[in-house]
């Protein structure tokens, strides 16, 4: 069973989001990192880019394959985790901490509240597993 902290919000594309002093920090869930396997490269978003909810903003490459990372909300990319250039494996070892990918200044802060909570996300993951 993967770890799903209750203080975070989630998407159906397996990103997590955390509201932190007006900006939203984004990474991938423990469930996602486990499914991807060893992460070996992260293509980070560009700081200052305006993005829409659901837009592809980053790419995570595991040994197996490349996976797109989608922005959970609309806004402007404010920071990227450059540590991942040298240590992409942080996505596996610490997905909710040092493995964060980018932060975004939301266009509308209400968008954050509409994301899935941890229970909703857990339910979504188990329904996905049943389909597979």
């Amino acid at each position: 069973m993967s770890d799903t902290p209750s203080e975070l919000k989630y998407t159906k594309t397996h990103e997590w989001a955390r509201l932190d002093d007006g900006t939203v920090v984004v990474g991938i869930s423990d469930y996602a990192q486990d499914a991807l396997g060893d992460v070996v490269f992260v293509e980070l978003p560009v700081v200052g880019d305006d993005v829409k909810e659901g837009e592809e903003v980053a790419v995570v490459e595991s040994v197996k394959a490349a996976s797109d990372i989608y922005s959970p909300i609309s806004g402007s990319i404010s920071q990227v985790n450059e540590l991942l250039d040298e240590q992409p494996e942080l996505l596996n070892s610490d997905p909710y901490g040092e493995g964060w990918i980018f932060t975004i200044s939301p266009t509308d802060s209400d968008d954050y509240e509409e994301l899935l909570d941890s229970n909703g996300y857990d339910e979504f993951c188990s329904s996905e597993e049943h389909e597979n």
Binding site: G37, D38, V40, E43, E61, V63, K64
Partner: protein
């Protein structure tokens, strides 16, 4: 678990990267029973293989217990399959075919064997194959077998003893052996090796290991439309003696006379991960990545690519619409656990 030509196979047993490292640094084992051994017996076995294979079996397997890597071609010189063929005894050979092509291989072989040859062709579905690979593979295996490897088991040699067929061959670029035996023996061997600390490895590590070693994967780096000359396998083709009319020879001769248009080479790149199908832009035109991945030993991406024959030096690989600079290099990328290119 993934479906691999009808076989349920593990991509990894936990961590693909750790499995990879254990083969480079210690010893790992692979259950490759999906591959199909085929035995050739009968007075025309050698004559038949001389027709079917690009290598001169008479010359390369001039003694019992020898093995060689070769390819089986179609009339157009395209690669039907790549394989290792072992000489077990006089007029007795064993070839090991890839799972994905095994059915087609057998049909092709049987269609060519009719009437003109006295050769008995037996697919050995009863045999399991375990590959034990890595610098410690021989020591660990000796401990399990309770005997040191016999002197005659040099690289590309094979021996048969107590129901085990052992070849000093592999697909990882490391020292090691491949063992063929019955299912019960294979289970026992696997468990004993596991107790000895040999790590089980999945298809994922098998792929990154063979790629670092610059070894082609059939169906990906080569196929029936492409010749060994354009697949960096010219060295397996024996042109002498000229009288040996192996299947595909005529087409290869024409290709060689005309001049090679494309060749298979290596690419190294930092700042992205190369994958098959990506375009490679070179000083002599465009090419394509045939196999690409992350190299766990080197910490960056390596690939095999088919490029215009004259291409050299730097290149650009198109990864998600971005052109990332890489360099064309001669495979392998890793030899005996060490980086080959600066």
């Amino acid at each position: 678990m993934v479906d691999f030509f009808g076989w349920q196979m593990p991509l990894h047993y936990g961590s693909q990267i750790e499995e990879h490292h254990s083969v480079r640094q210690a010893a790992g084992m692979f259950d490759v029973s999906h591959m199909l051994p085929v035995d050739f017996n009968g007075e025309d076995s050698q004559r038949f293989l001389q027709l079917m294979l690009a290598s001169d079996v008479e010359k390369k397997l001039n003694q019992n217990g020898r093995a060689t890597y070769t390819v089986m071609l179609n009339e157009n010189g395209g690669i039907i399959d790549d394989l290792i063929v072992y000489r077990l005894a006089d007029q007795t050979y064993r070839a090991i075919f890839n799972a994905g092509t095994a059915t087609a291989d057998l049909e092709w072989i049987q269609s060519k064997a009719v009437s003109q040859f006295s050769v008995d062709i037996s697919p050995r579905h009863d045999l399991n194959i375990l590959a034990i690979q890595g610098p410690d593979a021989l020591t660990k295996s000796s401990n399990v077998f309770g005997t040191t490897p016999p002197e005659e088991l040099k690289p590309f040699r094979c021996i048969e003893s107590n129901g085990f067929f052992v070849g000093r061959t592999g697909y990882t670029g490391e020292d090691g052996i491949e063992v063929l035996c019955g299912t019960e023996q294979a289970k026992l061997l696997w468990e004993s090796l596991h107790d000895m600390g040999v790590r089980p490895c999945g298809l994922g590590a098998r792929d990154t290991l063979r790629l670092e070693a610059g070894l082609n994967l059939n169906g990906q780096d080569m196929n029936p439309d492409i010749s060994p000359l354009a697949s960096a396998l010219g060295w397996v083709v024996d042109w002498d003696p000229e009288e040996r009319q192996f299947i595909g020879r005529q087409a290869l001769t024409q290709e060689r006379t005309r001049g090679l248009r494309r060749r298979l080479t290596g690419v190294v790149l930092k700042g992205g991960i190369m994958r098959s199908g990506q375009e490679v832009l070179t000083d002599s035109g465009s090419g394509v990545i045939t196999s690409g991945s992350y190299s766990p030993t080197l910490g960056y991406s390596v690939a095999l690519a088919r490029v215009p024959a004259a291409a050299t030096g730097t290149c650009k690989v198109v990864i998600r619409n971005r052109e990332i600079e890489g360099r064309l290099v001669r495979p392998p990328f890793v030899r005996k656990g060490e980086k080959v290119h600066k």
